[in-house]
C-alpha cells in the first residue's frame, strides 16, 4: 500500500520548483525550473537505489533490478508543465512510480522483471513542438536530430537548451525496450469527477492535429481605411477561431478545436494587423473525422484568404493518429482496482500522453484519477489525496503482476 502522506510530500516538494500564484507550476521544458525539478527527481531516484540513465534527448530512466534480466516493466510520465500548469499533470505519474519503488524496497520484494521509472522530456509541447517529444523519439517516431533542432516559442533551440541545463545523456535513444508500459495520470477532464467514479482504465487516446497558421495581410490606418480595402490579418484569425468552434459544435461531441495562441503584428490599437500567427489544436477519437475537420478548415481558410485579400499558410506542428491501448493491460487494471475495492470505468483519453508513444514499442495502457471540476492546464488543477492513493495502489499491484509475467 502506498503511503499518501509521503506521495503528497513529494508532490509538494516538486511543486515548489517553479511555483506560481494560485498553487500552480510553471516549469516549461528545459528551462532552469525544469533543470531544478529534474535534479530533485534524480536525487530521489538515487536515494531509492535506482540505477539512473539519461539518454540523448534528456529522458531519465531509473532502473530497479529484478530477479532476472528480462525486459523491464516501465512506468513513468513527465515533469514539465505548461505556463499556467497544475502540480499533478505528469508529476503524479513519476512520483507515484517512485513511491511504488519505495514500498517494494521497504517490503524487500524483488520482482522477476526489472522495474523502470521514466521521466520523458518535453511532454507538454508548450515550449517546443511536437508534444510527447521525449517518448516519441524513444519510440522511433521522430529522429533525434529533428527533435534537437526544434525551435521554441521563445526562439531557443531545444538541443542548446538541453545542453545548457546539463541533460544531454550518454545513452542512445530507444535503448530500453520494455515488456510493458503503464502510466498513471490525472484525467485532466471532467468525466470521472462528474460520474463519481474513482479510477479510469484507459484503453484508447484520441488523435491530435496541431497546426500553426500564419496570416499575412496589410497594415493600414484604422481610421482611414474603408472596409473593402482592408486586408486585416487579425480579423481573419478571429474568423478562423469562430469557424473552428462552430465546426466542432456541428461535428458533434467527439470533435474538439482550440485556438490557444495568437499573436498580432504590430499589435497597435489604431493599426490594422499585417500579420497574425495562431495555433489550431484539433482532436477526435476517430481518424476519419479528424481528417474531415482538417479538410474543412483548409477549405474555410482558402475562401477566407480570397475574401479578405490575405495569404494564409499552414505549418504542421504535430499529427498523431488515435491510439488503441492494450486491452489485456486495461482488463488487468480493472481487475486490480476491483480487488482493491475501487470503482473504475473504461475510458478514452482526451489528452496526449507518453503512453501513446510507448504503445508503439510494447503493450501499454493508462490509469486515470479524477480531476476536480475537470480542470487541468490551470493552477487550480486538483485531485483528492484519497484518489491519488487509489491510483498509486492500482499502479503498484498492476506493475507487480506484470513484472512476474
Amino acid at each position: 500500500r502506498i503511503d499518501p502522506a509521503r506521495l503528497t510530500a513529494r508532490l509538494d516538494a516538486l511543486a515548489a520548483i517553479g511555483a506560481i500564484d494560485g498553487g500552480g507550476c510553471c516549469r516549461l521544458a528545459l528551462t532552469d525550473e525544469d533543470r531544478a525539478g529534474r535534479d530533485r527527481v534524480v536525487e530521489w531516484m538515487r536515494e531509492l537505489g535506482l540505477f539512473v540513465q539519461i539518454d540523448a534527448i534528456g529522458n531519465i530512466f531509473g532502473m530497479r533490478a529484478g530477479r532476472t534480466d528480462a525486459a523491464p516493466v516501465m512506468t513513468g510520465s513527465h515533469i514539465d508543465t505548461v505556463r499556467t500548469g497544475g502540480r499533478y499533470d505528469g508529476n503524479y505519474g513519476v512520483l507515484a512510480g517512485l513511491e511504488v519503488v519505495r514500498v517494494l524496497n521497504e517490503a524487500e520484494i524483488l520482482t522477476r522483471r526489472p522495474l523502470c521509472v521514466a521521466v520523458f522530456t518535453n511532454e507538454e509541447g508548450a515550449r517546443y513542438t511536437p508534444d510527447m517529444m521525449g517518448s516519441l523519439v524513444h519510440a522511433g517516431g521522430l529522429s533525434l536530430a529533428e527533435a534537437l533542432a526544434a525551435r521554441g516559442i521563445d526562439g531557443t533551440v531545444l538541443g542548446e537548451e538541453l545542453a545548457r541545463i546539463g541533460y544531454v545523456g550518454d545513452m542512445a535513444v530507444g535503448t530500453i525496450r520494455p515488456h510493458a508500459y503503464v502510466e498513471l495520470h490525472i484525467e485532466q477532464g471532467p468525466v470521472l469527477d462528474l460520474e463519481g467514479v474513482t479510477l479510469g482504465a484507459v484503453d484508447s487516446l484520441q488523435g491530435i492535429s496541431w497546426q500553426e497558421l500564419t496570416i499575412a495581410g496589410q497594415s493600414n490606418h484604422a481610421g482611414t481605411t474603408p472596409l473593402r480595402l482592408r486586408h486585416d490579418a487579425g480579423l481573419a484569425a478571429a474568423a478562423i477561431t469562430v469557424f473552428l468552434r462552430e465546426l466542432a459544435r456541428k461535428m458533434g461531441g467527439n470533435q474538439l478545436a482550440t485556438v490557444g495562441k495568437l499573436d498580432l503584428v504590430p499589435n497597435i490599437i489604431n493599426v490594422i494587423a499585417q500579420r497574425a500567427t495562431m495555433t489550431v489544436d484539433l482532436r477526435n477519437t476517430d481518424e476519419a473525422q479528424l481528417l474531415e475537420a482538417e479538410r474543412r478548415l483548409a477549405a474555410f481558410t482558402a475562401d477566407l484568404a480570397q475574401a479578405e485579400g490575405v495569404t494564409i499558410t499552414a505549418r504542421r506542428l504535430a499529427r498523431l493518429e488515435p491510439v488503441v491501448f492494450d486491452a489485456g493491460i486495461a482488463d488487468r487494471i480493472e481487475r486490480v482496482a476491483g480487488r482493491l475495492g475501487h470503482s473504475i470505468r473504461r475510458m478514452t483519453s482526451g489528452a496526449g500522453h507518453d503512453a501513446q508513444m510507448m504503445a508503439r514499442l510494447c503493450p501499454s495502457a493508462m490509469i486515470f484519477t479524477p480531476s476536480v471540476g475537470g480542470l487541468s492546464h490551470n493552477v487550480k488543477e486538483f485531485t483528492h489525496a484519497a484518489d491519488l492513493q487509489a491510483g498509486a495502489d492500482v499502479l503498484l499491484h498492476t506493475l507487480l503482476e506484470l513484472a512476474e509475467g
Copy 2:
C-alpha cells in the same frame, strides 16, 4: 515657393532616426528614438532663428517674431510614429512648417502676427493613450496630471519617460493661444489618390471611440474539455472581432471598427485562454451613429459573456466627438490652392489629428496631400515629392494670409 529638395532632405534625415526595414520608422512617443528626433527638430528650429519653448507635457513650440505681438498663427503636427510607421505621418506637417519659415527668412518677409511651428507630444497614442495627447492637454481637454500618469503598453509611466528623455519644459501647458491653426498632413486614406486630386481642404474630422476590453475566462486543457464546459477568453475575443466587422458593414460606409491589439494568456497551443485583452477602435463622422455602435457592442458583449461564461470589462482609452473645422479657413485653403493651380476638394478626416484639439482654442483647419494606395501606419506609406511641395506651398500662402489678418 517651397524647395522640394530641401523638404525631402529633412524628411530623410528625420526618417533615419528609428528607421526600420522597408523604409519606415519606429519612433514611439518618449522613447530614445523620439528624443533623438526631437533633438534634431529643436536644432533645426534654432538654426532657423526660431525661439524654442517647451511646455510641461513636452510640446515644442518654435516662434518666429512678427511685426506685432498679436496672437500668433500656428502650424505644426507631431513626430512620434506607430511601431510600423511611415516617414510622412506627422513629420511632414512639422518639417513643412520649418520650410515655410526658411522661405520667409530668405525672402526677408516679416508677417504682422508671429508664426509658430508646434510639435505635439504623443499624437499617435500607440504607446500611451489617449492619442493627440499633447494637443489635448494644450487645449485643456485633459489635465497635465492625468497625462503624466498615463501607463504605456510597456508598463512605463509617461511622466517618467518624459523626464528621462529630458523633455519636461518650463512653460505652463496651454500658454500659447493662437489666432488660427492650420495643419498640413498626408491623408492616410485612399480618397485623393483614387480620385487623382492633389489636395484636400479638410473641414471636419470623425469621432473616435477607443476601448480596451478584458475578457476573463478559465484556462483548461484543449484536449479534454468539452465545448459546453469551456470559458474560452480567446474565442470570446474572436467573436467580438468578427461581430465588429459585421456591425461596421451593416451600419454602412461611415462606420469603421478595428481590433488592432489582442493578447491572450497563457497563449499556449493546448491551453484554453483564461484571459484576453483587446482594443476596439470605433469611428464615425456622425456622433449619434458612433453612440449607436458603442451601444450595440455593449449589448453583444453582455450576451456573449453570458453564453460563454466569461466576464467582459471595458475600459475607455479615448473618446472624441466628431469635429467641424472652421469653414472660413477651409475656404481660404481652397482659394489659395486654386490660385497656385492645384486641384483640391473638401473632405473629412478619418484619422485623428492635433488640429481637432486646437479647434477648441481657435479657428482651425487642415490641408491633406495624397497617400499612394491609401497606405498609412505602414512602412510603405508614400507621397510624391510634387504633392509634398504642393501642400507646403498652400500652407505657406495660407499662413501668410492668416498672419496678416
